[in-house]
Symmetry: D2
């Protein structure tokens, strides 16, 4: 059963102006408990502590991804013989909309701390006993499985996977535009209309007409700039490190049978690593922040200090380390220990390229991460073969080591640190 709404509904959106909903099922999915929960999870985690405008939610972004996908499909449908399989429209729209359904609060840090993957949770929610599952099942009995297959990249029509997840997909286009709009960092502005106009289904995947090459170059450069200006900003990293340390401390305290004054479900399950879908869906930023606020009063001073730091934005300072060597880090740890600092909580090394770094890099072995250009003779070539710009930047491997530390604590003991250690903090 795939029904149209009697009258199209719209959401006013600051990025796409209007988001158009034409299908009963999409409207119902948006109104499920699980999708509404995304309103309580910020798109950019702790980035609002660096760029105060970045307070937008995954709810907004998910609507945006849906809308871009809708526009692409509607364009494919308008041109005859485009090669787009029309019967896949609804599965693609649902997958686009639900793509990020499994994100938890501050998910980068939580996923890292608890070895979870939001894609997996997305599929568990879609396939579990949820309102989303019920809506999908009304479309077709095996529709939840289909949507999950697209998201997990096992669906048997690669073009649908490609539409929802590729180096030039609706997800990436929306977040670049949206994060630029909300942070105010204008490097993210891309000519989306032009890119959309240039997309073509071809041989079971989405390619770009060669005349759209410059728009793609510009998109890749925007992405590069947004990564280094916004996503990997050292102040944001500093707040992520605080989160990481809070979760690390919680796990330690649990191991030590520490008695928490305050502990709310489903956090024990999170710490134990055995959350059910139902419990997982109880997690949101409000619960995390409220717990932090309560833990300010815990007698464990490591935890209470970290929580206060996070809420009051007393972030760790950082210095860049030009020549990284592990020996030196050990020396710092020892020196810290000698003067009464905590070697695991009062110092942290960070190297952002450890994160999934998805600035586009052509990759000989898989076409999944490639952007393909279609020339006027219908030949397909990987973009870095054609674009000087993309070839130039695709080899760039970048990243800097930063050492993070609580400035007030280090300052207090600085005179007692060995000179060669002290000078590291002297910038």
């Amino acid at each position: 059963m795939q029904q149209q709404l009697t009258e199209e509904k719209v959401f006013k959106d600051p990025v796409h102006n209007y988001i158009h909903v034409q299908d009963v099922a999409i409207w119902r999915l948006i109104n499920t408990v699980e999708f509404q929960r995304l309103r309580r999870i910020r798109q950019l985690g702790t980035t609002y502590l660096t760029f105060h405008g970045a307070e937008h939610s995954r709810f907004s972004h998910s609507l945006g991804v849906y809308e871009i996908t809708r526009r692409i499909i509607s364009q494919f449908e308008r041109s005859k013989d485009s090669g787009w399989p029309k019967e896949e429209r609804m599965v693609a729209l649902c997958a686009a909309l639900l793509h990020d359904l499994g994100h938890g609060p501050f998910s980068h840090s939580i996923e890292e701390a608890f070895q979870m993957h939001h894609e997996e949770w997305t599929c568990r929610i879609i396939l579990g006993d949820t309102e989303v599952n019920a809506v999908l099942r009304q479309i077709e009995p095996d529709f939840p499985e289909k949507v999950a297959a697209v998201i997990c990249k096992t669906y048997d029509k690669p073009i649908v996977i490609n539409l929802v997840s590729s180096p030039l997909d609706a997800d990436r286009m929306d977040y670049l535009l949206r994060d630029a709009h909300f942070t105010g960092v204008n490097y993210g502005t891309i000519d989306m209309d032009r890119i959309l106009r240039m997309l073509r289904p071809h041989d079971g995947r989405i390619v770009v007409k060669e005349s759209g090459m410059h728009a793609v170059e510009d998109y890749l450069m925007s992405r590069y700039q947004m990564y280094w200006q916004v996503y990997f900003h050292p102040v944001t990293r500093s707040s992520e490190i605080l989160l990481r340390q809070i979760f690390r401390r919680l796990k330690e305290l649990v191991t030590q049978d520490y008695e928490f004054k305050f502990m709310l479900d489903p956090i024990p399950g999170l710490l134990a690593g055995n959350l059910s879908v139902k419990e997982y869906l109880m997690l949101d930023e409000a619960l995390i922040q409220t717990s932090f606020a309560q833990w300010r009063n815990e007698k464990d001073s490591v935890l209470s200090d970290l929580c206060s730091r996070f809420l009051d934005r007393r972030l760790y300072k950082y210095v860049e380390i030009e020549n990284m060597d592990m020996g030196m880090i050990d020396e710092v740890r020892e020196a810290f220990l000698a003067v009464g600092l905590h070697p695991h909580y009062d110092m942290e090394i960070d190297f952002p390229t450890d994160l999934p770094y998805d600035v586009f890099r052509p990759d000989g072995h898989s076409t999944e991460k490639q952007i393909l250009l279609l020339d006027r003779h219908q030949n397909v070539r990987e973009i870095s073969e054609v674009s000087d710009i993309v070839r130039s930047i695709s080899g760039i491997h970048r990243g800097k080591y930063h050492m993070y530390f609580p400035h007030n604590k280090v300052e207090a003991v600085k005179s007692r640190l060995p000179a060669e250690i002290r000078q590291l903090f002297d910038k």
Copy 2:
């Protein structure tokens, strides 16, 4: 002690591009616990349930108000003999920045439910035992009192009060621009640069050069549109009504000595109406939302239903009532009672002009709410004497009654309602 930073600091802002901080004290105020708390309170309360982009915080807005004030003063300082008292710069900047410090979570609803006023809390925080107070006291021992006096409009230099609070102040200019940017509703775009260029200190207040009249007309129209498009949007009103009902139910339950499964400080104090400054500062949206999430499991079904509705955005529906009469409302209440609905929770009448409606209206008795134009002969006239547009719109008194109700519950008993009541819900 009024110190400059050795190097200006900036915040990237999507509305003003950069927010410039030049003074040590401003920098320190921003970093206080009390000011950082504003990050956890949305500027537009529940509006994000209508316009999903409206997720920006009072923190962003407060920085914006500060920045506009800084620009106005800096312009006054550049022109000789402008009549602006230069020694008032810092008190004006601090008052602009801290203006909204006393806002709580969802403050329209909470203030209404508990008879509180955020201005009062702002002054209590500034004058109390807080970090903000300590930073201000470092400037001058009586600086907190001065800043509070500006905010409470008792300061002895009316021009400073006028700068921070008037029908054309930095507060209103920032929120129009910011709310427009985040909701995507472009009616809020005003030519702020032109308005700022046209402001002049004159005879102890801020007036507008006559050549800026059209920019002011446009600003007033933008304000009018934003009120009716955004601030009084019936869907937003519907979510405020849910909040109002939740707080009403909580108070009832407290009176009945109901035993809550979950109750976190300082909510009992809030319900009892005896919060200290310290407790008040513990209130944020995270705490409210987390409480609502927990109360989903309370055995009181009125409370648990209302909390679920709020979190899952199962808002009340509404119908417009063209000819309002109180007798009819009583009839509805009785009919509801007769079919088992709750006359206080399952129906609510709303008339938005009950809210402070601050679309500009000239008022013969006070100049505080007037916008004055300065002509080339240095004569001052109230704008509606000069502007046809302002005169035309200033008489408009507008507002519509809406009746809100839980659609599913009313639907279930509709056939048992008297026909003349039933038809009210038949649109």
Copy 3:
């Protein structure tokens, strides 16, 4: 023969992003000599002398009007049973595109000076021996007549006329947005997407869904502001007055059999009032400006001075006249004559509402100038019955008298003017 292009063509446009051409005939019309000539005629005449960005041509605007019309029709076509007569698509698109084809250079001034009407010329060009005519005739033998009938409002399907020419038509929407973009005056920004979404064919005309009322209010206010900020700006009026005087002088000189050193076809025909279509099409701004440049060297000093003033932007100054009376003007004229000034060239009275003032005014007798709202019961009401704002502003009748004069000349003789005349110029 109505053919589609094998591949859609686009024009990059700063206002609508892309202008989409899908039909062979539209593509050919754009490439005709007559349409390309619109590149040499500025949209806003002499406004660039006030707002330097206003250098955009009627070519750009015509493409914009076409594009908006295309979007409206395509939306009508997407909804079933919309009541839009699908077979009228091409005639509507052609009329939208060619609507301004008959504009000449600086057409306000030239039309006034020579009693011409651009609509009439548009129809003469469409029906004459032109490339445009040939392209239209290829569609259908009587297509030129149909398109001309739409433009001249005699077409037998009122809905098509209504689409192309009404108080809320594609013409007005494009010029507000475009003139705002190019001048930089942001009052012109309207929410076009929302207005388009709200348009409905209904009973043989285009109406607006009631929920679009606020967007229409905003549009009418934008129009009002653009009129007074841009279109009637006194500096622009001053440059129009120079043009008017140049043309007046030319006609006088022709009457006096003055021998011009320089005179280029088709200007003699223009002055004589007997231009053929072919000659009319030779008129463009380049020809007018080049003639002015040459006439700088004419021995008639009135003409040469006026031409230099125009090219070098030595505009007349102006004073506002608060209480206009004709007697006073006569006195000024006499006083000017007495001190050797030219009473017809050195003074000019202007009252902008003499111009066609198309800010919307409801008019009981004709529905052509009305904006109609469609409520949810399918009832139609004129907007000022429903909107407080529109009702308030629709009664405003505004306009100020200005006296324009060459500042240097008046200054030179000022001491010899009678005191009561002199003080008029003393501001």
Copy 4:
């Protein structure tokens, strides 16, 4: 004599919002005949034939360059000990404003055809018997010489030259932003505010604080994209080629003592290469276009055809030539001759990088073309040493050969061309 205006004057600008004039001399320079002439010369020459929005004049751009320079200086003046020589303010502002004063109509083509340089004409106008010269001389007797020296890069304070002309100067920043705004191609949007904030006078030149590196990378990428998307667009090149051919034909006809039906001063001087300053200032686009319009009727069909093509936008088509060899071009020429085409007018090879290509390239021998970064230890490094992006793209040497030809003429004889030539045109 350097006087301030009693009240600042502003120009409304779509790019910088307002352009602020504070000095009497700047105001007078803008009002000179020579500066007003820039209104009649488009900033981007024939680009409006490709991007119809590109109708903005050099007048607008010159005001923009002045405004950016004013902002930079005003920022330097605000910070103490900035190292900026305050007494150079006026000379820098005048040089910025007058920088492009010597541009003629369609100057790329005219300069190429007649071996002229606009910088030289700028200096001749500034030093000649002109209104500009008179205004400058009022400031100081040798002020014209100083301003000319800055523009010709012989001034003895390199920092002033550097401000007005460098890889990161006000000229380039304005044209990127302005050309982006008017064409609608958004690749040109740069974060100018951030770049301005990062500029520092240092050791007699302007450098960029290291923390502005990403903004500079983005600026260089924008420049690169604008070059290839807009400035070197093959359709624009095609219209430049028409101009080139028209001027070439005119010179040939003069050599042959051809008798023109129409010839207006100062074109004979232009063709003879002996224009005076006074004559040069008579050149504008109106005069060129009017001449073209008249030459449509010349009996020389080469000239009349080229002029019609230009005015009616019947541009030459083009094909890309992948492997360029000169032998092939000779063969095409011969084949054209054999079938009656004109080998010099009916075919033209173009290679855009032959044009001054000012995408930034570091150059070991001169620091003039370098962008220098200033790190926190006050060390200066050339940007490509620090930025991976700049290093990557600075080696790109790009450019493609295109062959241009009149499609209709070649089509007519195509069957008679040798097969290997014919296939060149078969794409």
